[in-house]
Symmetry: C2
Subunit: 423 residues, 2 copies
């Protein structure tokens, strides 16, 4: 039988809108793929009466309560006290936690104030969740059939704590092991992918197949529950094969962070270097590539040629061509990519030129008209895109354009046609 | 007396973690600055029984209920039916809404399927909230002392609907008008700003003064309630003056989107052009600048010189200097900025070179050591930053470095010392 979960977030800053509740999203995703059924999110402020009522309510309607926030050292931090009280437990001092907290401050080279030791008080008999990413430890316990997990609020503590510390403890709730594998898809709209797969998604129960739409691409997550890791993986494999057979080369990776990582790894393997030439994306592609740690071994650099002067001067795009056709055309995209290869001394270069909006350009090209190109050993390819139908927002057009450019490099590196016309 | 609010979000996709509840954050911020007291957020799935219980609960503990989601045309969309039922109202067909929906599809050049007309059924006697940003209209009504507002889920519909449609209706709950002004602060840590202002923030009731920490900078929002706009503005002015007197040149703008907008506007006013030379930020500064629509009139372009070859080849940084000192030093930052001015033909150029991590560079420079520079008519300035103490995450170091570089340009354009040593 599937367990039901409520995620209870504590913090007035959430109710004031100072921060977004990204913990609830990330934990929901993790808990769902464990096979647990998240039925409620709730948020209350740093108020003991309302928090207590919220805990009693959560207890009455879910059998797993995961709290985030309110574990810190200040008098606003009430989560532990309140939950301990609701479940009839005392808070007791845990010297091993106090040691960890002192070590954390020593590592950061900071002075520890005395109130930080408040964080070493935890409910009697609980399972301690060590916090290697901050100071406040979390904890977990079972009381009268309710499973309680308390995590700190800051996302960069909350998520690793959940994955590294809480997950092994929660594993008791799902018999056997849970494994998941995420396929990344680029080149087909989310509604098209969903309508292709909807029937299978509805049929499948173990493993499950769930889609997650992302800006300009899609994820398909396959999750299996089984007695052992090997059995779970054996359940996943045929579904992965089925999806790959259906979507073919649109699946660009499994368990990867995105197109930049895939392009960087494929180039690294083949000993090739990479560069960019960007107009309307304005540095976004270079930014996405250098978001990946270790990009320096492959990525040589980029040119953001926002003005035509820079296209001509730095990248060597023909001035006559720019004068005659303007900056947004297939030839300019091609010359930008080839110019970037030369100027940056790299093996592969991608380029983008187009109209991100909000207004058409001075040549009357419409918002959403974008050309992407790839210059590589053996040729130069150009793609013409019409991205206005996607809502026409500037940031979305730029993200899609960047992904299309990266996908051309990905396809060339995988031995596929980089797409469309070769010049 | 201050009204209490619950934001009730409806949608299984939130509970699966497919999307983050950004509506709840944005609405909380808006509602709080209206002087309303947001006490609860809750999320339930597309399940009539649980939704009904959630509505009854919200009604028992808040006097304003704002719902998001579940107004669409599919059978999963249950919000209107359920709330109408809870408050004893019938759903009735609103022909004027049906016309709007048909017009929307005509404008988008799309075929309208019949089920879209479901969206024209709204609770009897409600106030209709027209949706100019999508198809599902929202609505608002008062029933037995509870104020109900229903908004669509997609953030780019929900937020403009709230501001343009729901706010005027909710104004009845706060007598008079509400005005707010947001000051943006760069160059002092959030805890330092908060400790400087905490006492005043606690004292002030009208206007209120609230801090919002952002990645690498801060916002201070002043919100006043008064009989007229003029009276509200007159309440805000002295508090703004007080904050500006306290923080001085750290306040870089009021009601602006960020440093890039301020830099672009100041450069545009003075008829100057802008360029960038980036190493560890890898295109982020250029991306942030070109996020602003209309950047093209000022921003000529940028060079992402990730490899030393590109620093020397494209930007003309001295090879001897790179060989002797490596890429991360004050001189290289300065030569990059000066090289960008030359290569891009711009009046002002900012540059960044540093170690974003996760590992120290090959010369042994530690993670977080960053140099930013500004080359401008009349000189070149360099700043040395140590950003590791801020958690040491790669993305945070890059964001902070980008903001420091932009802030140097902002300061120069405002006639201030761009900071630190001149070379």
């Amino acid at each position: 039988m599937s367990h039901t979960v409520e995620i209870l977030s504590v913090g007035t800053e959430l109710l004031l809108g100072s921060i977004v509740n990204s913990d609830a999203q990330a934990l929901s995703r993790e808990l769902s793929s464990l096979g647990l059924n998240v039925l409620y999110h709730s948020v209350v402020g740093d108020n003991p009466g309302r928090l207590k009522a919220a805990v009693e309510l959560a207890r009455s309607r879910a059998d797993v309560i995961v709290t985030t926030g309110g574990l810190g050292p200040t008098c606003d931090d009430l989560t532990k006290q309140t939950l301990a009280e609701c479940f009839g437990r005392k808070l007791v001092f845990h010297p091993e936690c106090a040691r960890e907290i002192k070590c954390f401050f020593a590592r950061m080279g900071k002075e520890m104030t005395e109130n930080n030791l408040q964080q070493a008080y935890l409910p009697e008999g609980c399972h301690i969740l060590d916090n290697a990413w901050g100071t406040a430890p979390g904890c977990a316990f079972e009381a009268e059939g309710t499973y309680v997990v308390m995590l700190p609020g800051p996302p960069r503590e909350c998520l690793p704590m959940f994955r590294e510390r809480a997950l092994p403890w929660l594993a008791r709730l799902s018999e056997g092991v849970i494994r998941s594998r995420t396929l990344r898809v680029f080149g087909m709209g989310e509604s098209a992918v969903e309508s292709l797969l909807r029937e299978r998604m509805n049929e499948l129960t173990n493993p499950t197949l769930a889609p997650y739409a992302k800006e300009g691409e899609m994820e398909l997550r396959i999750t299996a529950k089984a007695g052992t890791t090997e059995e779970a993986d054996a359940l996943i494999a045929p579904v992965e094969a089925e999806v790959r057979a259906l979507l073919g080369e649109l699946v660009y990776g499994a368990d990867v962070s995105g197109l930049p990582q895939v392009v960087l790894e494929a180039a690294r393997e083949r000993g090739l270097t990479l560069g960019t030439a960007e107009s309307c994306t304005g540095g976004l592609i270079a930014k996405l590539i250098t978001d990946v740690p270790g990009a320096a071994s492959v990525f040589k650099g980029g040119v953001v040629s926002y003005h035509c002067e820079v296209k001509a001067g730095v990248l060597g795009v023909s001035q006559a061509l720019l004068d005659e056709k303007g900056a947004v055309c297939a030839q300019v995209a091609g010359e930008m990519a080839q110019g970037a290869r030369r100027a940056l001394g790299c093996d592969l270069a991608v380029s983008v030129t187009g109209v991100a909006g909000p207004d058409p350009d001075e040549w009357g090209n419409p918002v959403g008209l974008v050309y992407t190109a790839l210059a590589a050993p053996g040729g130069c390819w150009v793609k013409e895109l019409h991205l206005a139908g996607t809502g026409g927002r500037r940031d979305r057009i730029r993200t899609l354009a960047a992904n299309h450019a990266l996908d051309m490099a990905r396809r060339w590196l995988s031995g596929l046609d980089p797409a469309a016309e070769k010049r």
